[in-house]
């Protein structure tokens, strides 16, 4: 599936939620199910800078595609990470680089986000995108 197709799928899934509680219950649920990052990758260098809550980032590049493993001390942030991994992990660097993240607004997370979560979300997305740029330039 393409990045946009997955985003559309997520938007549809969120349409069935009526309250912010339901949305966050869902985020907590998928946050709990997110596989934890291997302890050996939870290093100082792998911390995403600027996230208020500790969040670690690890990526691998295989067969022209980027794969992400990201973990956080916050369960809500883990829920967001689960969505971002679903969208971006296994995609080509140039597709990741060029993707626009429409789903954030459309699923109504933005309006409900306190600065700390928003901050974390954009910092993680920036990290994913800069990693994609790095691998795209390497390919050239």
């Amino acid at each position: 599936m393409t990045i946009n197709e997955i985003q559309e799928e997520i938007i549809k899934e969120f349409e069935k939620f009526n309250t912010w509680q339901e949305k966050y219950n869902y985020l907590i649920k998928i946050g709990k199910n997110l596989p934890p990052l291997d302890e050996k990758y939870k290093t100082e260098e792998n911390l995403i800078k600027g996230c208020q809550v500790k969040t670690w980032f690890h990526s691998t590049f295989k067969d022209g595609k980027l794969f992400f493993e990201i973990d956080s001390l916050s369960l809500i942030v883990r829920g967001i990470i689960a969505l971002l991994i679903r969208i971006f992990s296994g995609q080509k660097p140039e597709d990741i680089k060029n993707a626009s993240l429409d789903f954030v607004k459309k699923i109504g997370l933005e309006e409900n986000f306190s600065p700390f979560k928003e901050n974390s979300l954009f910092k993680i997305v920036n990290r994913i995108k800069s990693e994609a740029e790095l691998y795209e330039s390497r390919k050239d």
Binding site: W20, I28, Q52, S74, L75
Partner: protein, 411 residues
């Protein structure tokens, strides 16, 4: 069961604070972030408005009417602060922009004169970063050493360890009055007494002390006491350094500029008398006068009444929060104020704080600028509910209810 025995008219008091009367995400605001900053009574807000609308003019330049009046009001504010903390002289009150600047001033000016290589400075494990970093910077400049008084798991300083740290090399002790993260009220009078037996001066970081109880610097006998206006219902950007005359006289100025000089030539500058020696540039005179109004307001309610009511809030809050299964309180000192630091189950404090916000409860989450405290407990930080005298028992009940709901969400 806890008995509410106060006769404190909190309903009436809340009307003095316009900000409290609003809804956040459709819930009535519960403002439990008072250790970060307190809200302002209308008398303070109105006065500042009036000063800018009708009275504004720079101080200490006075040939004209407005400037003279403003200078008078500024100096009256200094006297209000002097009386409020029972300092010996008005010129022992230096206006700064806040506690941080007050501590930096002492670390620089005292350090310049009295600290040399190999000297030692004592702080504690529960200091705010603003009572650690300025001293570390001084140590780096001078080749001095920082010594740390540890605390026990209740959050009480180990005075026996403190006594052991004192040596002929110790030049100053800098200790927090009330911990912003744990709520501990430190026995500062005793700490000062021990230091003075060894002829060592003491600075007290009173950022969280001044608003919760009567502070009498003569009685405490501390050499310096630093605090902020905005944490005691006054305006932002104004703070106080109290210093004993004998130290302030001997210390060189902190910053150079206008207002702090007697005479300037390119060969030599002579400095102004106290307190102006330490107030370079245009001071925050409107902030200072606003702080004076906050002091009047507190005096009207009575510090003793505030202290008694807040003690009841503290006891009620501790009892109620302790009853939540899986909630761990950090800071259980015998003598503590109404600051509650806690973690709920194994949740990140960010997650707990996020949902409290959604329910209209403003708390702070994280390390609260006290990394060493959380290193002590080996956790990343806490959720901190810090209360003031305009908070109520009902608000504590609502917090407890909200926390129980959050617990359910994460099961």
């Amino acid at each position: 069961m806890f008995k509410k025995k106060n006769r404190f008219n909190v309903k009436k008091i809340r009307k003095d604070f316009p900000l409290l009367n609003q809804k956040i995400y459709q819930h009535p605001l519960i403002y439990f972030d008072n250790a970060a900053t307190t809200q302002k009574p209308k008398v303070v807000i109105d006065l500042i408005d009036k000063l800018y609308s009708e009275k504004n003019s720079n101080v200490h330049r006075g040939i004209h009417y407005l400037s003279e009046k403003m200078t008078e009001m500024y100096e009256e504010a200094r006297i209000k602060v002097q009386k409020f903390i029972n300092a010996k002289y008005p010129h022992e009150i230096i206006f700064t922009k806040g506690t941080t600047e007050s501590i930096n001033l002492v670390a620089f000016s005292f350090g310049e004169k009295f600290i040399k290589e190999g000297d030692e400075i004592i702080v504690s494990e529960m200091e705010h970063h603003s009572n650690i970093v300025p001293w570390q910077m001084l140590c780096q400049r001078k080749g001095a050493k920082l010594k740390i008084i540890p605390f026990n798991d209740n959050g009480e300083l180990l005075l026996e360890e403190y006594k052991k740290l004192i040596s002929p090399k110790t030049k100053i002790v800098a200790i927090v009055h009330v911990s912003n993260s744990l709520g501990t009220i430190n026995p500062i009078k005793e700490i000062v007494k021990i230091a003075h037996q060894n002829n060592i001066p003491v600075l007290i970081d009173g950022a969280q002390g001044i608003q919760h109880q009567k502070v009498d610097v003569k009685d405490i006998d501390c050499d310096f006491y630093a605090f902020s206006g905005h944490k005691m219902y006054g305006p932002n950007g104004i703070g106080v350094l109290y210093g004993k005359e004998k130290w302030l006289e001997e210390m060189p100025p902190y910053q150079g500029g206008g207002d702090m000089i007697k005479e300037v030539t390119f060969e030599k500058t002579t400095y102004a008398e106290l307190p102006f020696k330490f107030e370079a540039g245009t001071p925050n005179y409107i902030g200072a006068i606003g702080l004076g109004a906050a002091i009047d307001y507190l005096n009207n309610i009575g510090l003793e009444n505030i202290q008694n009511y807040e003690k009841e809030l503290k006891e009620y809050g501790m009892a109620k929060l302790s009853s939540i299964e899986g909630l761990k309180i950090y800071g259980t000192a015998k003598d503590k104020t109404c600051i509650f630091s806690f973690l709920l189950d194994n949740l990140s404090p960010y997650d707990t704080g996020f949902f409290l916000d959604k329910m209209g409860i403003a708390v702070r989450v994280g390390h609260h600028c006290t990394h060493p405290i959380w290193h002590h407990y080996k956790v990343e930080g806490s959720v901190r509910a810090s209360l003031a005298f305009y908070n109520t028992f009902e608000e504590i009940d609502y917090l407890v209810k909200a926390l129980k709901e959050i617990k359910k969400m994460f099961i």
